[in-house]
Amino acid sequence: MGEFSPNSHAVVVRGLRRQYGERVVIDGLDLAIGTGEFVALLGESGCGKTTLLRALAGLDEADDGTIESTGEIAVVFQEHRLMAWLPLWENVALGMNTATGRVLAQNALGEVGLAGRENDWPLNLSGGQAQRVALARALVREPGLLLLDEPFAALDALTRIKMHVLIRELVARHHPGVLLVTHDVDEAIAIADRILVMRSGKIAISLDVARETEAGRGPLRARLLHELGVDVPDAAHV
């Protein structure tokens, strides 16, 4: 994996360990995400994906191991987690200097397609719009590492596809390292550069999406599903 270098790495994790009582959830995990690299993390429910994300976000303490990262870390959760009582721009600028925060928040809202809505209230938004504000709140701080915890899981199918396009654009422009935790194999293939599968508290497999899909997405999809314990009989034709 090599040494952590602030120029090329968004985050480097070594020997991360996390246990709840007797149960070891993360067991000596190593992981490196490059600057501007979009990594998707798959795994069966309860395999420790979210635990890893929370440890990276600083929301949970690690029991052992090191995490080195460049710049700020921003998180988008499954729920938008907007403060209903703050106008959109204040939600986006949360924790920032008010004077500069307002302008930056307006720009960020424009980037996610909500220009001119900065004084609106969160309860007037649809689910997809609220999630875009959450995205603006994460990107406005120009994070070195962007953590996405199943942020599209609760959206309807069409909105989800629009969000995939949007997030790719935004990551290309802002260039953070991204870790996307998801259940959705197709989503991972559609937006990630690299796909990880987590098992028994470690990264079991790491696959480069461009290389694996040279002959189409079918084989990669079938393989990932197989790794996740789902065997589709005619997966090759999907």
Binding site: E79, M83, A84, L94, G95, P122, A154, L155
Partner: protein, 301 residues
């Protein structure tokens, strides 16, 4: 064909709506609704018509009361006619007596309400934020709360005599507990998921309190304010009946001595006005502080 298409699209929207994240996002968001008021819009009768209808019933009742009094079916010593009450009001207003009594009562209510809500809010914030403060204070406060505050009347008279202090003390006591409990609960019920956002966005401790916890607790705090306005009004009536030398309560006691039912009816109207005043105060606060909530915002939004 067109109808089928619209129906299908509608069904799809409903599905999407059902799948949209409606997980608890603080107390108020959980109540989010696309149709805030369960009102039906009537096409024949406009807003104006409903407004007029709503006034029709009380006006009819008062007219009937006046009519029956004039016909002699209601004796003046049982209940004075509305016109007599109006005349008495005018006379009392002219010699200024009415305003002296009104001012005295308002002052008591205001002093008690301000003291009580300041105390209740401070205690609520303290206990809401600190487990230690909860351990020290909450049980004792709940024990005192269990005493019906009117049962304290004899002690209050012994402590304060029949002085102004005792009356303000009673109103204060009536206000403290509703404000305390709702402030404390409001703070405790702020969604921990929102506090995680504070952590990942690097919000300061003061930022966390002023941007997340207090505004998140505000709907609950205002429920407390609304409730406290009711209990304060009740405490005021009782407090004023203890040998006051001025105030609305004095007017009532004096009027009872001389069977002046016109004055008694007037004081009832004044107490009702106090209630209405308190209600509009609560509404004003809600509109200002809960402007973000579709149910409280002015107009449609």
């Amino acid at each position: 064909m067109k109808t089928t298409g619209t129906l299908a699209a509608g069904a799809f929207n409903d599905l999407a709506e059902a799948e949209a994240p409606s997980a608890p996002q603080g107390t108020a968001a959980a109540r989010k609704s696309r149709h805030p008021a369960p009102c039906t819009r009537n096409k024949v009768l406009g807003e104006r018509a409903f407004f007029l209808i709503s006034w029709l019933v009380p006006i009819t009742v008062v007219a009937a009361w006046e009519f029956l009094s004039r016909l002699g079916y209601i004796a003046p010593q049982i209940l004075s006619a509305p016109s007599v009450v109006a005349r008495t009001t005018w006379e009392l207003a002219q010699d200024g007596d009415l305003f002296i009594h009104l001012g005295a009562s308002l002052l008591r209510a205001l002093a008690g309400f301000i003291l009580g809500s300041a105390l209740g809010f401070s205690l609520g914030v303290l206990v809401g934020f600190s487990r230690l403060a909860e351990a020290v204070l909450d049980r004792s406060l709940q024990m005192v709360r269990a005493i019906p505050f009117l049962a304290l009347l004899p002690l209050v008279i012994i402590w304060f005599g029949v002085d102004e202090g005792g009356r303000i003390f009673l109103v204060t006591l009536a206000v403290v507990f509703p404000i305390y409990i709702n402030t404390m609960l409001g703070i405790r019920q702020v969604d921990p998921k929102l506090l995680e956002v504070a952590k990942v966005t690097g919000l300061s401790v003061w930022g966390k309190i002023s941007r997340i916890i207090l505004p998140g607790a505000m709907p609950s705090i205002l429920t407390g304010v609304r409730y406290a306005l009711g209990t304060a009004c009740m405490a005021l009536v009782i407090a004023e009946l203890i040998a006051a030398d001025k105030g609305i309560g004095f007017l009532v006691m004096d009027a009872r001595e001389f069977l002046k039912t016109d004055v008694i009816v007037l004081t009832l109207i004044i107490y009702a006005a106090f209630g209405a005043l308190g209600d509009s105060l609560a509404r004003w606060l809600e509109r200002r502080l809960l402007a973000w909530h579709p149910n409280y915002a002015k107009g449609k939004r």
